[in-house]
Subunit: 404 residues, 2 copies
């Protein structure tokens, strides 16, 4: 008797083979049954049987493909079914948002509602979210997309196993359990709605659709720090093309890296955190713009820096300087040499970037090569796309549940 | 045909089974062949055949064991052979050291030579190290321990695959290749000598012999940051009882976390790094002790703080304060909630600890529970033990090379 792994129960083998075929279709949309067999090492008969199940489940569908250099009639390829999708729902400090991502990776619908959520109770926000989610689901159905699951992101630390928002200081939430609320967002979806951290979702969006994605030309980042600039400053570490979660799933919290020993009190209870210098409200205050006014502060800030207003420019440059310090520290700890900045940092790139580069050069010369400081091109929908794509991956990993 | 893993070549299976049995002996010294069979899922015949090979290789030996609650004559158990061992060699800024660790985990010999190595060329240091290693090997042989391999630690970043010290700024070394020098340290050892970072070795010592080890009573740390206090300040992150290396193997470099935006120039080329406030020389200077004198600065510092000398106490407290900032930042990035301090931080625990705790409380309240700030009890030999134990593990992982 040898100690090679046991093949397990027949059900496990079938699941494993299903996952292999599905991964092949996900990686290589349009692959034929023959290609899937060659790639997976399964027989053509096995692949055909699995594909029949997947077609019946609605997760994949057939498509006609002609490959370059091949002669004869077009083959029948398999793709993830764009008539299936996942919902993303986002609670942030100054807005709520929903989005629909189909299995082809297209964001087919999204909606943002500006709203001051600081101090709002979950009971105030959840009905609004449920209404937005219903509208999104209706739009999805009208567009022929059935939603199978979803993900809710919050600007704070989450315990995904217990569906608890552990701490979202900028909302004023601590230990908020959402087990009863999450199913209401998408009542009929077979895979339910999970909870996620906003910056981690945005980091994954960057990996899958942004700087980490294979665009054919430019070099892809496989190891990078993503920094999310909102009212709070969040972060996510991608190492070897995976989110590095850390022991409790909270790694990469660059917003609370200490950048000045005598810095101001932070919403987290600490002092001198990056967020106190580079969060949106901190920049508005330093620029002389009231962060609590209901007007468009970011538009005000942008026009002031564009005009060369000294106070506004210095506020933004200060944010860049402290970002450089926090990036230097984070890069040392996590052994990272690339960074992608999103949210308001991307909006303010023109003024943030030089200050950030100077600061990196002062505090950690040579650690992050020039070309490895990047700004997100995904705009406001990054978090939604990352969250929905995470949900799609979760659905595909549980595909066997849809198969008799 | 299913996609279950193939059993591979017969040689692979044999290696795998050998590794299983050896891991069983390492984990449970004194295990009988029957126990090893039960634990590994191998047949008794397979285990007996593998054990025969291992006995012949000299890596394990038999011992007579009586288990509690068992009747009859004592059984024959297997243990790693204490007549085999590994060498550790340490280059630090102000000393050189060697140590011998036998396969039973005992440090049977160690020697330290105080020496100012700053600016020393590898060609100056290596002959001294080779002489010390020879003495250690002679002592080992006299004690009946044969050295099968070793590890050389340096206070800097290493590329273990290419045997290069990438940067050890406190020695003044950059891109120093040691492929030719390493074999000279232990010319006859079948597994050679590898290169390692000093703080990472000390972190592993803490995991295997210190706060991470199973002492039966106190809770073990499975996730922690180890901080090494020498002339430089190094660090290692242990996550889920493994060293977290990061993409290039350099994760955990807390010495270069930025703790003050206007801080002084660091040996690394940056500004305001923890090392500029908490490294040995930085503390001596702040305390008014000449770091370049040849006298015993640490003894001077200890007697001054013990006397309540204001300048000395404030220098040490400042180090504790900045340690707190760097630990807060690192804990946020790596999602760590325990820290172990070694080197001079452990020597100065009485004065460092309160300042560190106050600083943690100011910058990241609640992040690191009181009881999770620990000081190493391994003393000066931590790095040697960690390095030699790493070498032992590497030897055991390549045990098949000793078997025909």
């Amino acid at each position: 008797m040898s100690a090679t792994p046991s093949p397990g129960r027949v059900g496990d083998v079938r699941r494993q083979n299903l996952a292999l075929v599905l991964a092949g279709i996900q990686r290589n949309g349009g692959a034929t049954r023959a290609q899937l067999a060659a790639e997976s090492g399964l027989t053509k008969a096995s692949v055909s049987s699995i594909v029949a199940d997947l077609l019946e489940s609605g997760l994949v569908r057939e498509t006609y493909v002609t490959r370059d250099g091949e002669r004869g009639r077009p083959g029948t390829g398999l793709v993830l079914n764009p008539a299936r999708g996942a919902l993303a729902v986002e609670i942030n400090v100054d807005y709520l948002a929903v989005g629909v991502l189909d299995f082809a990776g297209e964001l087919t619908f999204h909606e943002t509602l500006e709203r001051h959520n600081r101090g709002s109770k979950p009971a105030d926000i959840l009905p609004l979210l449920v209404a937005m989610a219903q509208r999104a689901a209706t739009e999805a159905i009208a567009a022929g997309v059935e939603l199978l699951g979803g993900e809710l992101t919050v600007p704070g630390l989450v315990d995904t196993e217990r569906n608890v928002v552990v701490a979202a200081p900028n909302l004023g939430w601590a230990d908020v359990e959402l087990s009863e609320e999450l199913p209401k967002i998408l009542p009929d979806a077979p895979f339910g709605v999970s909870l996620a951290n906003e910056a981690k979702s945005a980091a994954l969006a960057e990996l899958w659709f942004g700087q980490g994605a294979d665009h054919g030309t430019s070099e892809r980042f496989r190891d990078f720090l993503y920094i999310s600039g909102e009212v709070g400053v969040g972060g996510g570490l991608v190492i070897e093309s995976r989110l590095f979660a850390g022991p409790q799933g909270h790694a990469g919290e660059i917003g609370h890296v200490v950048v000045h020993p005598d810095g101001p009190l932070c919403a987290c209870g600490g002092h001198g955190c990056l967020e106190t210098f580079a969060g949106q409200d901190a920049i508005y205050s330093a620029a002389g713009i009231d962060p609590d006014s209901t007007s468009q502060q970011m538009d005000q800030l942008l026009s002031r820096v564009a005009e060369g207003d000294e106070r506004a420019v210095s506020a933004v440059e200060q944010a860049g300087r402290y970002l450089g310090i926090a990036v230097a520290s984070t890069a040392r700890v996590a052994n990272i040499s690339a960074v992608v900045l999103g949210g308001h940092f991307a909006v303010l790139e023109e003024w943030i970037a030089p200050a950030l580069r100077r600061s990196l050069n002062r505090h950690a010369p040579g650690l992050i090569p020039q070309g490895n400081v990047a700004f997100s091109g995904l705009g406001q929908t990054g978090t939604l796309r990352g969250a929905a794509a995470t949900s799609v991956r979760r659905i595909l990993s549980r595909a066997y549940e849809l198969i008799p």
